[in-house]
Symmetry: C2
Subunit: 105 residues, 2 copies
Amino acid sequence: MGDFKHLVLVKFKEGVVVDEMLGGMAKLVTELDYVKSFEWGADMVSEETLRQGFTHAFVLTFKSKEDFAAFSSHPKHLEFAPTFASAIENILLFDFNAVLIKPAP
Amino acid sequence: MGDFKHLVLVKFKEGVVVDEMLGGMAKLVTELDYVKSFEWGADMVSEETLRQGFTHAFVLTFKSKEDFAAFSSHPKHLEFAPTFASAIENILLFDFNAVLIKPAP
């Protein structure tokens, strides 16, 4: 069984201090052992139409779907969620068991 | 510098044999050394509205943006692209330098 991935694509509202959001997320994933790894990025390459207006991607990796569920319902996550929700104009979530076809060398 | 990630979210057209598409992608990423790793998944968890109708996610990882560019313009990729394009109803691309906040243990 591979990892469980939680992809989050967002478009932040104008005026949002993205570094503050990132700080909150970094704190959350560092404090909660359920999160196996966390990385993020801003799209600097693809055309805006192809990325459908989204500006930032967050990739959270968990050992299992159960760990993801435990993270999602954790009080610290629930506490941070409204702050995050108030900063975004659009969001797309995609949650899946990752099937690894080509492992990193 | 972290990895460069190429996220692809798609909604396949009705009647598409997803395994055939996956076979073509697996062949492509295996043949081309530019691709550091490749994994995919189908969303079985989040609500359809939250995933905005997308059904499958593909995560391609490269050592650099240059390797991604070399992959994108490679004849084998260009040869496969129309087959893939004909199978999809909607696509979202998101390309970014991945900033690793919490590395896997």
